[in-house]
Every structure is written in C-alpha cells, then in structure tokens.
C-alpha cells in the first residue's frame, strides 16, 4: 500500500473503506471517510481491495524557492515550527510550501514588498555555528540588494542564533528580525500570523540591529521586538515565552502601529560581516557537589568556557582549584544561573578568589549570549578575548539595571 492509497479492509468482522496513512511494525493507520484516522493492529487488519493510487504531487523545495529581489523585505526560512505545516493527509510535518498564506493576514500587506527564500529546513536544536554562518551570509546577500531581513527560525535556539548574527554583523544597513512561533502555523490559533505581522513592521523600521519578534503576552494583540543579545526563551510553550532580561523590549507592534520602547541603533552606511566563529567554547552549569574531574574534562582544551555559577558568580572551592589549574590555557568567564542581575565577584571571598584565578565576570550578559560571543571573538579578535568579552559591543551588557 502506498500512502494516500484508497483501500477496502476488514476489522473484527466488519468491512470499511479508508485511505492508507502509515504503518509501523505492529500497527496500521488508515483515514476513514469521516476524516478520522484509526490505528489498528497489523494482524487484525485485512486488506480486501486496493484501489489504484492517485498520482502524488512531487514535494520539492527547490521548485518553490525564489531569490530575493531588491528594496523589499526578504524572508529567509530556516525551519522550525513557524516554517512547517502538517500534511493533512498523512499528519507528517513538512516545510511550508507557499509561504504567502502565512502573511496573507497581515494588515496593509500591500504596502510591503516581500520576497521569500527557503535556505534551510531544520529543527532549531540542530542549528550550530556552521548554520549561523549560512544564515548570516544569506542575510548579507539580501541586505546588499537593499532588503531588510526576516528569518523564520525555530524558537528553541532562536536566542543563540540572534546573538550570533548580532555579533557577526558589526555593521548592517537594514534590520534583521528573527521570528518564530510557539503554536505551529498549521493551527488556527497559531501565534505565527501575528508574529510575522509584527516582524514585517519591525523590518520596516530604521534599524541597524538584530532583533527577535514574538508575542508580548498571551493575547493576540501585541508583538514585541527584543534585542538579539538580551533575550531568553523563558517558557517552554507559551506565546510570550520570549522576554528581554533586565531591560524593556526595543519596540512594540499593536493594531498596525509600531512604538519604540527603548534605544534602537540606526542603520550603518555599510555592511560589515565578520563570518568567522571558533567553536571551541564551552558552557558549564555549576551545581552543588559538582565533581572537579567533570569540570576539568569539560574545560580541558577549550579556548573559552562560560561558567553559569551560583548567585553573584560563584563555584565551590573544588571547582576553583580546577580553574586555577587550567586558567593558563583556557579563558574562564562567569555568568550567573540566576539569569537576572549582575555578576559581582568583589563581594564574597569566593568571587575574589575566582577573580584572582583569572575568571572574568560578565556583568549581566546572558550565559548563552556569552557562549556565542566567545565564539565570535575567538574567531575574529582572539588576542583581545578578555577585554572584548567585558566590553558592551551589541547591547549584550545592560549598563543600568533597574
């Protein structure tokens, strides 16, 4: 049987007609005429008649790919919930073919010139430094043609990708807006539509930064623009999972209008993309009783390690001893697992000992952002690692925390 093929079958003595959907070792799933899928044990399912299969459309990504034109907004899809859709016949999730239905619902869509390029189709947990380079280069190419850029991205690691592009674009002529959705775009209740609507408006701003466009609250009435380097996914599933840590959002979109909420960098004259990343960086979450050898194994041979310490930036004395051992080869940086607030290693003796051991405090830089930043600096300015990690380059450090 082929997927989508019509079959007559019997089950426990009765006969039915359905469409073959899928099978596993034990079970077979068919769709009944009512639209319901039913799943039956393979051995209780008897085929009576197979109808000739209908011709299937060919699924091809390349066919629907289109190049970005000029002076518009270029949407780059990379996968993730927002760029995927269920196949109603099979229930399988596939990349969206016709992106246009996603933004058909945007207010005053006619005033925008939209292009769409499908550059990747992956789950964001599999995105890595190599992909960041791809995204950044595609964004640069689009920008060169005068387009602002929207990147559809899975929400899982969107904050990491946005940080990466924030650093790599030392100068940019147009905004780069990441957006995604927490409810998939094949659902009527999907947040994708409003998030995209917001992202299109944000992409039309005078802005030379990388941002993230996601729901403000649970209601479908506002989208916020968050700074790429200061944002964190703080909820596994809710629409308003993304927030800027310790600072207001950059802008809000509501009822067709954008309002600026905090500082937004103006576009530069030129595009400067530094597309080298050194992946030899670690991120370690400290916990009570963490073994020195574990810490050692993780740090050994790394060029830089971001530690998520407790409180103001502490680890146990056992870990301190390991750091002392390795700190000549490996640069250690301290962020806090508290997430909110500044690291300050002058207050307690542990902090002062860590400072003495060469650990660099990162203020209120998010650990995840710091990890990405270290890759960028090691790739481009390896000699200035310590100094630049402490320097606020792309809003990753909030000077004034209220």
């Amino acid at each position: 049987m082929l997927i989508g093929q019509k079959v007559d079958f019997s089950y426990k003595g009765a006969e039915y007609t359905g469409t073959f959907i899928s099978s596993s070792d034990d079970a077979i799933t068919v769709k009944l005429g009512s639209g319901y899928n039913i799943t039956l044990n393979r051995d209780s399912f008897k085929v009576i008649k197979e109808y000739p299969p209908e011709s299937m459309e060919k699924d091809s990504l390349t066919e629907i790919n289109q190049e970005c034109g000029e002076d518009g907004i270029c949407i780059l899809t990379t996968g993730g919930t927002i760029g995927s859709s269920v196949d109603y016949k099979t229930g399988a999730v596939k990349p969206v073919k016709d992106i246009s239905y996603l933004y058909n619902f945007v207010n005053n869509i006619d005033q925008f010139k939209l292009y769409h390029e499908n550059i990747e189709n992956m789950l964001s947990e599999n995105v890595d430094a190599g992909k960041w380079l791809t995204f950044a280069r595609k964004a640069r190419d689009a920008m060169k043609k005068g387009n602002s850029v929207i990147i559809f991205h899975g929400t899982d690691t969107m904050q990491y990708s946005a940080s990466a592009l924030s650093f790599m674009f030392e100068e940019q002529t147009e905004p780069v807006i990441f957006t995604g959705s927490q409810r998939s775009s094949d659902r009527p209740s999907s947040d994708a539509f409003l998030n995209i609507e917001g992202s299109i408006h944000f992409a039309s701003m005078e802005m030379g930064e990388v941002g993230i466009s996601m729901h403000t609250g649970t209601s479908d009435d506002s989208v916020s623009l968050y700074r790429g380097t200061r944002t964190r996914k703080m909820h596994t599933s809710s629409r308003n999972a993304f927030i800027s840590i310790g600072e207001p959002c950059m802008a809000k979109y509501s009822n067709g209008k954008v309002s600026q909420e905090s500082y937004i960098k103006k576009p530069s004259e030129n595009i400067v993309l530094k597309d080298r990343l050194d992946e030899n960086v670690g991120l370690i979450y400290f916990y009570p009783g963490m073994r020195g050898e574990d810490f050692y194994n993780l740090s050994y041979n790394k060029k830089a390690v971001i530690i998520m310490g407790t409180g103001l930036g502490h680890v146990s004395s056992g870990i301190l001893a390991v750091i002392k051992k390795l700190s000549k080869e490996t640069a250690f940086f301290m962020a806090s697992q508290c997430i909110y607030g500044n690291v300050n290693m002058n207050v307690y003796s542990t902090g002062r000992d860590l400072l003495d051991a060469g650990v660099i405090p990162l203020g209120n830089m998010l650990a995840e952002t710091a990890m990405v930043k270290a890759m960028y600096i090691l790739g481009n300015y390896p000699d200035d690692l310590n100094k630049l990690m402490k320097t606020n380059m792309k809003g990753e450090i909030e000077e004034i925390v209220r």
Partner: protein, 619 residues
C-alpha cells in the same frame, strides 16, 4: 423517514487533557485571541476577503478556576485522562461496538472561537455497535471521546466572549446510523442510550451535561437539528419538523414547484411620518427605514392554518441581525392603522392573492437581505430542505445555517497513540453498564421486587439511589415503596421535590451533616432509630412524615409519643370511641381511625381488632 441521533454527554472528574477539575468558577482575568483559517481548512469559504473577515473576529476568553495553560492553548495537551478513556471503552462495550486497537486523537477544525486551539480534539474509541430497541436494533456508527468546547457568554460587535470552564471537559459522542423509524422510536432509542450514559459513575449529571443532535430526513434532504436539550423534547422536535416539512410540501405543491418571485423592496418610510406605532416611530428616529416587498400568490401562506412561510423567511432576517420581518398574514398588528396598511399594500401593489413583507432596518441590510430571501424561497419551493437547524427550548426548530461542509481533520500529533491492551479491556469489564433488561432482571431476582416495581424504579431514574440504599435497608420492598410512593406523596404535600441527595441523606444509615433541616445536626439517621426501636412500616412512615413535613429534628424523633405504636387496648378504646360517634364499617375504619389519632398504628391490627370486636359484638 430516516432518523439518526448523536448523543453527547459530559464526564465529571478531571478534564480530558489536563489535571484541571471539570468543575470551576470564573476567576476574573481574561485574554483575547484571533483565529486564522489555515490553508485549505475553510471548506467552502475561500476568498481572501472572507479570510480577512474571520481574521478580524475577536475572541475574549474568561479564565476560570478550572483551567490551566492547556485550556489557554499555551501548552500541549497532557496525556489523556485514563478514567475518561476507560468510560468511553466501557460505553462502547455496552453498545456492542468494536473497540479500536488504539485510541488516536484528531484535530477537528472549529474556527468559531469555541476552542482556543481552533480545533476540537476527538478520537474514535468504538465503531459498529448497536442497541436493541422495540423496533429492532439501531446501529451505532461510532463512539468518540472528545473535549467539550468553551461556554459562550456573549457575542456582540464582532467579539465573542467565552468562558474556559467547560473547555476540555471529557465528552463522549454516540452516533447512530439513521435506523430510527419515527419520533417515538427516536425517543425510545435516546432513552435507551441515556440509560447507559447515566449508569456511569462519572457521568457529570449537571444541567446541559447531555446534548442531543438529531438527523432527520423524510425525502426532502437531510436536516441536522442541533442541541435538543431534553430527552422528552426529541419527539416534540421531530413532530414539529415533520409537520413543518409537510406544510412546506403542500406550499410547494401549490406553486407546482415554481417559486414566486419576491418583489424588490420599496422604501415606505414616508407613510409613517405621523404613525401611532411607537415601535416604528422609534426605529425611524434611530435612522432605520421601513421597506416592503410583495410576495405574489403567498396570501394566507405566511401564517395561516399549518402554513408558516413567514417564519421561514423571518429566520433568514434574524440570522442577519434584522430583528423583525412582518407580513400581511399578521396584519393588522404592531399598532398599524387600516389607513397605513392600505398605503403599504398600495405601495407594494398587493393583489388579493399576494402577501406583503415589511422590514424595518437600515437600507443596506435590507438590500443584502433581499437575495437571501429569494434564495430561501427557491429552496423551499423546490423542496431542497437540507440544512442545519437549531432545536428551540419549546420543542420547535429554526433555521441556523446551511449544512456544513465536510469536517476538516488532521492528526493530533501532540498526543501519542494509546494502545488499548487486553489488560485495559479486562479492567474495564466491571465498568461496562448493563442493559435495562438485564438490570430489571437483576432487580427482580436479587430484591424480589415485582416486575412493575423494578420498571418503575428504572423509569423514574431511581436505580442508583435504590442500589446505594439497598445495603443499609434490610427490606428492599419497603425501600421500593418508600421511594416510589411515600416520598412522592410527601413531595406533593410539601410542594417541592427532594433531590436524590436529600433522599439519600434522609434514608441513609448515617446522616453525615448534609441534612435538609439545618438545625438538626445529630448524626443518627431515621432508619437507624427505626431499626433500633424495631419500628414497623407505619411508624417509620409516620417518622418520615414528621421529619419531612413537620421539620421535627431526628434527635427528637425518638422521644415523640406518636411514634410509640398504639397497643391493643388503646386501639380498642379508639374503636369504641369511633363506634359511639357513628357509623363505622370495614371500609371507613382505617380512615376514621387515622383521623382520631396522631399515633402510629398497625392498620392490620386495627382491622383485626375491629373484626374481633364486631364478631364478639362488643361494638
């Protein structure tokens, strides 16, 4: 005639896909959402304009105390509620269905806002069963387990307001094939299915916990009648619908299947410049126009005898938000004068055989109404009556919308397949409800009840009450008498019904605080006292009467002198008294005796003593 039923019933306990309770109150906070008809999911409505319209509808959801992120559509569903699943399997077994090897859930797209997700989660549990009825077996096509929708609070200005309290309550849907022969049979089938439903321990049993849809066809197209709220209305509703379709058939015949052409609407607002009808005056002041149109040959079809063509058209107007559509069969009415009427008729160029309809609305609405009226008239005269109708609360039906397109469904990928194992099937065996026949047999066999008693208990919905009290009550036939005769008599005297809970409390072996008279907080039960005192039936019934009708606390019943049954000497004395007072015979003895004393007595003893006294000529 083909009739099919869809019976939905709620389960109590936890919701279907989260740990929230099925019961809750509103908590005050609210949020707002929109729904987007996703690609290809709109059925017939396809144009971008329509999308836009729907996209602009706003839904406001009031958060209830029994809701969490799942109801807010902010979290994927949790694993399915096992108890609900088991109940669905048990019902399926009871209705002789084939249980599927796996429970798998689908998303049924619903974009009226009644589901925050934009779809309802639903899965088939059983297929292809049947239920025995006097008219032979009625086939059950499917039994599904699904989540109930939000409760609608209001709808205005393009914004619908819902409460989350009902969303996610487990709902079992039992659908029959159209095997039902007539309204009477439909009622019987519904009752039979209802029996199984109500036998489940976790049947929710609140107002609205059962909702019935009826599918009906008598050759003029299938009509879906939504939301018959009570069992007893099934027959009324079907009777109404049959009469309605029959009358439309007659009308169609009158026109030989050729629809009359409804005239264009004519603005006659000017006629009412000085009208005495305050309704019309008010409407005109608020900027509305009065318009009329001629319906050729429709005189006395609008509302006359069995004919109700007026209502058929008025339903269309009502669905558009136009309150009233008046017509000539009603006139004179609404405070219209003869003068005004003749002006209307003259404006509409009404001939004797014509009807005239009058609409008061803004001109635009009336203009968009016009083609819809014509379309409906066409369908009626061509006897294409297939549509979705709503059951009203008085047993009628009214036009709701065209039949929906095929439901769009796709798999709920967030919920893994659940294998219905042999273990599960074994475990739910004890839950499978018995059929009425089996239960009746059980009652007769186990409790030695008469067939009539057993049926009465079943038909009066007293089965679970009887079963729950039968353990404490050593005498099932006394219990049956109390439930079937004594209590109803008290209720009549009292003027109010007792709830089953109250009856359970009164007759239960231990009274646990829940007592109909609050000042009585003793924990002794009436039955307990009866047993310890060895009360006979009469004394017990008198005690119940004192408690229920005279509000004597349980704690005082023991001390009441009336509840010491009269001894032979006392009986003899009273009979003597009665006899002195006048004519006394076997027929009036007990009635007269009861009038003479407040005390409990054994009527058979009184009778025996009277007979003895009479025999021995002591009277």
């Amino acid at each position: 005639m083909k009739i099919g039923l869809e019976i939905h019933f709620q389960l109590k306990g936890n919701k279907l896909f989260c740990s929230c309770s099925t019961e809750g109150t509103e908590s005050g906070s609210a949020f707002q959402r929109k729904l987007t008809p996703v690609m290809g999911e709109m059925g017939m409505v396809d144009s971008a304009v329509k999308y836009e319209n729907i996209r602009n509808r706003e839904f406001l959801y009031r958060v209830s105390s029994n809701s969490c992120l799942v109801e807010k559509d902010e979290e994927p569903p949790h694993p399915v509620n096992t108890e609900a699943l088991n109940t669905a399997i048990a019902i399926s077994e009871a209705l002789n269905c084939k249980i599927l090897d796996y429970a798998s859930f689908m998303r049924k797209i619903v974009i009226d806002g009644s589901n925050t997700s934009g779809f309802q989660r639903t899965g088939i549990i059983g297929m292809d069963g049947y239920i025995q009825t006097s008219g032979g077996p009625v086939r059950i096509s499917t039994i599904t387990l699904e989540e109930d929708a939000c409760r609608k609070i209001s709808e205005k200005h393009g914004r619908a307001e819902y409460s989350l309290d009902r969303l996610g309550i487990p709902l079992i849907e039992i659908s029959t094939e159209p095997d039902i022969a007539d309204p009477e049979h439909a009622l019987e089938t519904a009752k039979a299915i209802g029996h199984f439903v109500m036998s489940m321990n976790n049947f929710r049993g609140e107002v609205d916990s059962i909702r019935q849809d009826v599918n009906f066809s008598m050759g003029f197209g299938r009509v879906e009648i939504k939301g018959v709220s009570k069992l007893s209305f099934i027959k009324d509703t079907l009777d109404y619908e049959i009469k309605r379709q029959e009358s439309l058939k007659e009308i169609s015949d009158l026109f030989h299947g050729k629809p009359p052409e409804i005239g264009d609407f004519i603005d006659i607002t000017d006629i009412f410049n000085n009208t005495g009808s305050s309704m019309i005056k008010k409407a005109i002041t608020s900027g509305k126009s009065v318009m009329c149109a001629r319906l050729p040959g429709c005189n006395h079809l609008m509302k006359y005898g069995n004919y109700r063509l007026g209502r058929e058209l008025a339903d269309v107007a009502k669905n558009m938000g136009i309150g009233g559509l008046m017509h000539s069969d009603e006139f004179p009415a609404y405070g219209l004068t003869g003068e005004e009427l003749s002006q209307i008729y003259s404006a509409a160029r009404k001939m004797d055989e014509d009807a005239v309809i009058v609409v008061i609305a803004d001109r635009d609405s009336t203009e968009s109404l016009s083609p819809l009226l014509k379309e409906r008239m066409n369908k009626i005269i061509k006897l294409d009556l297939a549509e979705t109708r709503a059951a009203t609360t008085n047993g009628e039906t009214r036009y709701l919308r065209p039949l929906a397109g095929k439901e769009r469904m796709y798999p709920e990928t967030d919920i893994p397949l659940i294998r219905i194992t042999e273990d599960i099937l074994e475990n739910i065996k004890s839950m499978v409800p018995k059929s009425l026949d089996e239960i009746k047999k059980d009652l007769i066999k186990k409790y030695k009840l008469s067939s009539v008693e057993a049926e009465s208990i079943i038909n009066n919905n007293l089965l679970s009450l009887f079963m729950s009290l039968s353990d404490g009550f050593k005498n099932p036939s006394l219990l049956s008498r109390i439930l079937l005769q004594v209590m109803p008599e008290f209720e009549k005297k009292r003027g109010t019904k007792l709830t089953q809970e109250e009856i359970r409390d009164i007759l239960g072996v231990s009274i646990s605080g829940g007592n109909i008279y609050r000042r009585d907080d003793g924990i002794k039960s009436i039955i307990g006292i009866a047993r310890s005192r060895g009360w006979d039936r009469n004394t017990l019934e008198l005690a119940l009467s004192l408690y229920i009708l005279n509000a004597i606390p349980v704690s005082e019943l023991e001390k009441r002198p009336e509840l010491v049954p009269l001894n032979e000497a006392e009986i003899r004395g009273i009979i003597n008294e009665l006899s002195e007072e006048g004519q006394l015979n076997e027929k009036n003895l007990i009635v007269m005796f009861r009038k003479k004393t407040d005390h409990s007595f054994d009527p058979r003893l009184v009778m025996r003593i009277f007979t003895e006294m009479k025999k021995s000529d002591k009277l």
